[in-house]
């Protein structure tokens, strides 16, 4: 399955030339994004909150405390929307009107279910931990019974998803190109990991492990 299967609400209406149809694009955006923005309807108004997540196959796992209002209410099989955006650069054009951004965006619609089966919950928590901090699941202490009970995990199917990607330079009008008055191009935006900062309560000389030191 490499084709996205858009429904009405997951069909890209604007900028169809930017709509992706390949499931590998969807997966790579979800795997590269560190957090998602989760939208839900609460008491009659939309709420959008940054949320930790991970993808396993065709399922997005969303993480939260069982006490969190967003998760409690999201658990009730209500419609949600998860959005992951990677901003790749700013597009400078000869006109203010054609300024734009290069980005890769994934939007998923659906009704999440709460993950209660112990094995699936364990694998989902492992995936969310590894998504946030690759290598940590094996290095750190894994959850005990109390911690498992205090963690809620939602599963959202990737069945109804859309991808939008913009790449390349500006789309200037011919007259503006001919005028030659202004610079045009792309200023790329990069993300990078900095120097690890050991916790003050860590023993002196505790080495920074490879999975932290070498994170790309």
């Amino acid at each position: 399955m490499t084709e996205l299967s858009p429904t009405g609400r997951s069909t890209v209406h604007r900028g169809k030339k930017r709509a992706g149809t390949d499931r590998t694009d969807l997966h790579s955006i979800l795997d590269e994004g560190v957090i998602c923005h989760l939208g839900m309807q609460v008491d009659g108004s939309p709420r959008v909150l940054p949320t930790a997540f991970a993808r396993l196959g065709e399922t997005l796992y969303l993480h939260g405390s069982t006490g969190a209002r967003s998760l409690r209410e999201g658990i009730e099989e209500a419609e949600v929307c998860a959005s992951v955006t990677l901003l790749d650069g700013i597009v400078y054009s000869r006109s203010a009107f054609h300024h734009s951004a290069n980005y890769r965006s994934a939007v998923i619609h659906g009704r999440p279910r709460e993950v209660s089966a112990p094995e699936e919950k364990w694998q989902a928590l492992r995936a969310v931990t590894e998504h946030l901090a690759p290598g940590s699941w094996e290095h750190a202490r894994q959850p005990d019974r109390r911690e498992l009970a205090a963690t809620a995990v939602l599963a959202l199917s990737l069945d109804e998803a859309s991808v939008k990607i913009r790449t390349g330079g500006p789309g200037d009008d011919e007259e503006d190109i001919a005028a030659g008055d202004a610079w045009a191009g792309v200023l790329p935006l990069h993300s990078s990991w900095g120097e690890p900062e050991p916790s003050p309560d860590l023993a002196d000389g505790f080495p920074v492990p490879e999975h932290v030191r070498a994170r790309q």
Copy 2:
């Protein structure tokens, strides 16, 4: 006015110690974030889309094409939620359970109004352009009448806003600290602008202007 004025939905329920109450925090998050995630209810389900924006005083201006479904429907004085998240680093703790992220998050609730007054629309478009590409408004060609008509701008008051900020190291359990088995600390995440990439249709030797070259 430096205090946020939380209502029920803009009060931070989880992690109150992370709730910001200072309006300068709100402003700095909005000014540093490049895009927001705009949530709205469409045909009975939430939709969250990455959106260009800018702050002027206590108003958030949201940008879109007049043909965009999200803007058309958002224009109807419906409730929306705009979320801006700056991810500052990953918090590695001794237990998988206490892994976390350092971030600054602003969430704004309200009913946006469409900006129709010419002077306000002009200033809003200027602000959105300058937010995306500082220096571009004066350098590039400014919008003509047709372009102005083809652009929709929404104004969202910052009256109902919440800020959540997490900084610092992990909050590990005493037993895990005593065990001394795992590394703990923060891996910072940085954003940086890369080398400007001139458009292929730019005249040879056209200099990269200072506002692009020196962007921080």
